[in-house]
Amino acid sequence: MQNFDEAKIIQNIQAGNAQDFGILYDAYVKKIYNFVYFRTHHKETSEDLTSQVFFKALEKIRQFNIERGSFSSWIYRIARNAIIDQYRMKKDDAIFEDALEVKKTDDIEKDIDNKNVMAEIEKYLDTLKPEQKEIIIMRVWDELSYQEIAEITGKSIGSLKMMFSRTISDLRRELPLALYIVLIIRSI
């Protein structure tokens, strides 16, 4: 959690003290980079998209309305859109959901210690619907709250909780204990 008044910072920025954007950058750059990297597993692409996200946020921050949601959700949403746009540009036949999956590339095996665990998780995640996968990833890997996921995806918290609990319930029947835990440890 940030130890500063985010609303106050944004008010300052919108009042013309744009240099305060640096505070937000410091607070969010790693989160946004991680968010992108978890979905691309490509360093250069992640850096490029992270740059786009922050420049876009800087450009649009005067339009941001704190009463309609948190800055956190807003910038994650920009990141999510940037990833989707990236896939649309790269792949003619890309579908929306592709951008939200955990990528199965060689790169991913380089950045985890337990390849077998990850392979098993991928196997079970493949059985989920795209929207289920997105929620699982946001909760488990991105450590986002239901409130944040709701603001990012535009879904209600109630429907998210219901979807998540059903997903976990389904997985529990299929997954070994360890894999079950990895999915529910941040689901509360």
Binding site: Q19, Q52, F55, I78, N114, A150, G154, I185, I188
Partner: protein, 522 residues
């Protein structure tokens, strides 16, 4: 990790109390699972580079940096100017006054016709603490910004061991690495004779000059649209204008060089329009050498440069009272016999308008004032150029400062950052220094063809006496940086460690199809 595991266990039990019976096993599993989480390594160099780009964009895009600022250079006074690109006078007029005018806050640099450069207005944008990386001193002596200074009497003096000899003037600056004159080995010990030091606080602001930015793609597009008949310039893509030159096509005309990348404007003689020496043999050169009676007074030199600055509307709002580099007078006064008869009188003298940033003067590590240099051609009694007219946009970042006056005194005694006082030398010459003034130390870091310019808070200790008989010791002060980490790492020019490498990261295009956030459920 233990706390984290405990917290996760609580969350798990809230979701499924059945698992409480397997706690010991769960702890092991959770520990393994935490370690197996995908690891995304945010490159620190990238983080810093992107931050710097964002802050630079913010700074350059502030609405109050618009042209309403005091006018600095009125280029239109050079009415007969044309571009060295040749025959593109119309394009030149469109390009010239352009730079750095901000648009609607989106950060895009927009060309603006018929206006004047405002980038030289001084501004400081605060950024987070330690934003410029670790400041250190290491490596070999670096280059210095081309200063266009007069050839004599400039430069810093070595702070360390030297050998005593007769005063000999040279054409170049003398650093501590100069070969010592033959004679007796003398080491200089600097002794503080001023008031007790007062330390200003735990943190002080280091400034980094923001260069030009070079988002001048619009200018490049204009030029590309012109047909030069030798190549299709429009076939090149993603172009920017990095620099351009204008020459004044008249007697005693000038050449104006604008470096958009570095944010520097220089004015020099358009040589073909100035009188040229007709000499082709040494005797002729000797006969036409300047003599004592040809030299102009310091007052006349400053009057000439003031007139030049006034004529061309160069703003002096960031600069202090001018001073003149006239060390040649001291050397001439001391010279005798053959040296006096054959003394070289400089054909150019330099007037310095010291840069004032945030109320403080700026010096190099040898105590030389940094600022606007205006040269005077002695033979023609005209200003011959201006150097170091730089953009004055800075980022400011707090750094930890020295907390013990003893640390400062130790560096003073040693002769500054690059001094090497040796108490074992056969002859120790004590040099007295007085009460310091708070100033800035200008240092450069050259990387990938670009220079990062930092202004570091420093104490300027004036030298009171002790160097009168050591002509090769040009220095007038000891400058000690107050950033603590710089005092711990001396022995070479300041380097910015862990500095971000240039990145290919670019800002999204204006038509970037990232959608704005929609109204969301809460």
């Amino acid at each position: 990790m233990e706390d984290n595991i405990t917290k996760i266990l609580q969350d798990i039990y809230e979701a499924d109390n059945f698992l409480r019976a397997h706690e010991e096993k769960l702890k092991i599993i959770i520990a393994k699972l935490i370690k197996s989480r995908p690891y995304a390594m945010l490159d620190e160099a990238f983080r810093m580079k992107l931050r710097a780009e964002i802050m630079e964009r913010i700074f350059l895009s502030k609405k109050d940096s618009k042209i309403s600022a005091p006018l600095i250079i009125n280029f239109t006074i050079m009415k007969k100017a044309y571009y060295v690109l040749g025959g593109v006078a119309v394009g030149a007029l469109a390009i010239l006054p352009v730079v750095y005018l901000m648009g609607d806050g989106t950060g895009v640099l927009m060309p603006k016709l018929g206006t004047n450069v405002s980038v030289f207005e001084q501004k400081i944008a605060r950024v987070s603490d330690g934003a410029f990386g670790t400041l250190s001193a290491q490596g070999q002596a670096g280059q210095r910004e081309g200063s266009g200074v007069a050839p004599q009497g400039l430069g810093g003096g070595g702070g360390g061991v030297a050998q005593y000899g007769s005063g000999v003037t040279t054409d170049s600056a003398i650093k501590s690495t100069m070969p010592a004159p033959p004679g007796v080995w003398v080491s200089f010990k600097y002794v503080y004779k001023g008031d007790p030091l007062s330390l200003t606080g735990e943190k002080m602001e280091v400034l980094k000059r923001i260069r030009g930015g070079n988002n001048s793609s619009g200018i490049a597009d204009t030029l590309k649209g012109m047909n030069f008949g030798i190549a299709n310039l429009s076939s090149f893509s993603n172009t920017n204008v990095q620099s351009f030159s204008i020459v004044e096509n008249k007697d005693y005309g000038y050449m104006i060089d604008v470096n958009l990348t570095e944010g520097i404007v220089s004015i020099s003689q358009n040589w073909i329009k100035w009188p040229q020496s007709q000499c082709i043999d040494p005797d002729c050169y000797e006969k036409n050498r300047l003599k004592a009676q040809d030299m102009i007074s310091d007052g006349d030199a400053i009057r000439i440069t003031n007139d030049f600055i006034s004529t061309h509307s160069v703003s002096l709002s960031n600069y202090g009272k001018p001073g003149i580099m006239n060390d040649w007078r001291m050397y001439y006064a001391k010279a005798t016999g053959f040296e006096k008869e054959n003394f070289y009188f400089p054909d150019t003298v330099t007037v310095i308008y010291p840069l004032i940033v945030d109320g403080k003067e700026v010096y190099d590590e040898y105590g030389n004032p940094q600022g606007l240099n205006v040269n005077v051609d002695v033979k023609n009694k005209k200003a011959s150029g201006i150097w170091n007219l730089t953009s004055q946009n800075y980022q400011g970042s707090l750094y930890g400062t020295v907390t013990k006056s003893d640390d400062i005194m130790k560096m003073v005694e040693n002769g500054g950052m690059y001094g090497n006082y040796d108490p074992s030398a056969p002859t120790i010459q004590e040099v007295e220094v007085g009460t310091p003034t708070l100033s800035y130390l200008r240092v450069y870091d050259y990387n990938n063809g670009l220079s990062d310019e930092l202004l570091v808070p420093a104490y300027y200790f004036p030298i009171l006496k002790g160097l009168e008989n050591y002509d090769y010791m040009y220095r007038k002060a000891i400058v000690v940086p107050l950033v603590s980490e710089m005092l711990k790492n001396t022995g070479g020019p300041i380097r910015i460690l862990n500095k971000a490498e240039p990145s290919s990261v670019v800002a999204p295009a204006e038509d970037q199809p990232i959608t704005a956030p929609e109204k969301v459920a809460q």
